[in-house]
Subunit: 301 residues, 2 copies
Amino acid sequence: MRHLLPYKYVEEIAKAGSIRKAAEVLSITPSALNRRLLAIEEELGVAIFERLAVGVRLNTAGEILLEHIRNQMSDLERVKSQIADLSGQRRGNVAIACSPELTGGFLPIQVQRYQQEFPGVTFRINRRFRMDVEQALIEHTSDVAFIFEPAKLADFQTVYNLRQPLMCVMNATHPLAKKQSLRLYECAEFPLLLPEKSWGIRHLLEQSALRLGINLRSTVQSDAREFLRDYDRQNDQLSFEIPINLNRENEPEGLVARPINPLDVPEGFIFVGHLRGRTLPVAAARFLEQVTTEMAQHFEQ
Amino acid sequence: MRHLLPYKYVEEIAKAGSIRKAAEVLSITPSALNRRLLAIEEELGVAIFERLAVGVRLNTAGEILLEHIRNQMSDLERVKSQIADLSGQRRGNVAIACSPELTGGFLPIQVQRYQQEFPGVTFRINRRFRMDVEQALIEHTSDVAFIFEPAKLADFQTVYNLRQPLMCVMNATHPLAKKQSLRLYECAEFPLLLPEKSWGIRHLLEQSALRLGINLRSTVQSDAREFLRDYDRQNDQLSFEIPINLNRENEPEGLVARPINPLDVPEGFIFVGHLRGRTLPVAAARFLEQVTTEMAQHFEQ
DNA sequence: ATACCCGTTGCAAAAAAAGCAACACTCGTT
DNA sequence: AACGAGTGTTGCTTTTTTTGCAACGGGTAT
């Protein structure tokens, strides 16, 4: 939309921290950009940026305005989406923020299924850690979020949540594979493959280990889920997963998963939702609907 | 704000129902206005107005857009208000929609008191009937509302409400003045001064009369409160009022008010609030605060 | 002290918008 | 059936606005 170009400019200047850099990104001259900024500030009656020697920085007034700008822009997206939906053809973009635990398996299948029905809808998936998801929603970087063990839920509108007890993954030949349920101290006797500290799985484990006075020895630490899964196939080390990522047909052979006693490690939860008080674009709302009904169908009970 | 002039244009065309008429109001040529409309429609990908022989009319897409436009404009007002408030000086406009019962006495005094403290704040008071108030809020014609016996509260966010039993006003020499409390059938034996049907007071009376099988004879009907008040001073007719408009020092002499038995006519309520889900400009929010605390202080208990 | 990057401004060129007049069309009236 | 008054729309010219270019003044870091 041409008429709210000034808004885009303000946003870009704020991001770049300098008029000249922003001008380069927007491919116009710094002078033109500067003049538009000055015009906005004159119309508003106050300065939006404070001028530093090295560039500019938003002041309080600017931050209030920027919040309005972001609301306004994403609300316009919603309007365009609703209007497009009137003529039968569903278009738009769905921006998803999701925990690294949820990037594989279930979610991509859901996206694919939705796109099969509505090819006009595009998707953008952003991996975010549990404490960063909410910020992504506030900044309108993402429309919807799938979070495993969220750190905050202040501005979050939960649409659905799913219980996910922690599972321990091992070779079928592993000594612990004989048991149906594991205690945490049993696992701690073996070398562990752990994700990094920002993951929800790791968070649950660390918390419990601290409470029980158990020391978890991690031999290989990675923030790539695929790596961990492929690695432990040729070792007797242990890794951890949540049910939504297990029991799939395409699971590698020779691996088994055993639940951990919930007395040792409390069950985790996947939260599905969006920014509180926001009306989602049609595509995002419908996608959320599809995913939650599928979740309820497959994992409930 | 210059950059959302196109929005203003759309709004005006919708209101005028014709491009040419809107162009005249906006004091530009029809061709220029038409081109801007076409540009907007092209950017949106769909038509916003359907073209009739006698002018244009919003289609569904246009109504969605117009709602967005109104939200957006009043949210920008809120932003400007908040920004102005940062620098200590409170500015802005407070648009009030209120029932005709409430246009006198209490409300003007409150406005005057607020303006005394913050001279930069302007006010606009619009008299609206009980069934029209909500629409004024939805259209963002008004920020806050004071309604006696509202007809709908679907999109209304109540901030405060105040019980207002109906009072019968008469000359001090009137035969009914001897009683402390009146029955409706007693009043019905005298000629009545009634406001028109859209008033909350009339609504309460009609409802009760219907239920009790009483016939109310109105000799003089007016939609001007001042007229009724000045008129009955030289007659023995009866009129009706609510407590918030009584017991003031400047009340004309020789008049008394007697409550009507609540078994005959149920108590009315004044509702104070704004559009649900909307963040008010600073001035409007503060004014609402002042009024509700004053109400609580003077009329509670 | 020098080089560098910053926001800002005067001036000319370029682009966008507005005004004017005319066209095509639909309605209600003559 | 013809007319007139209303509508939205479009080609062309004029006006206004915006942009780009170059230069200035002022901070920072080397």
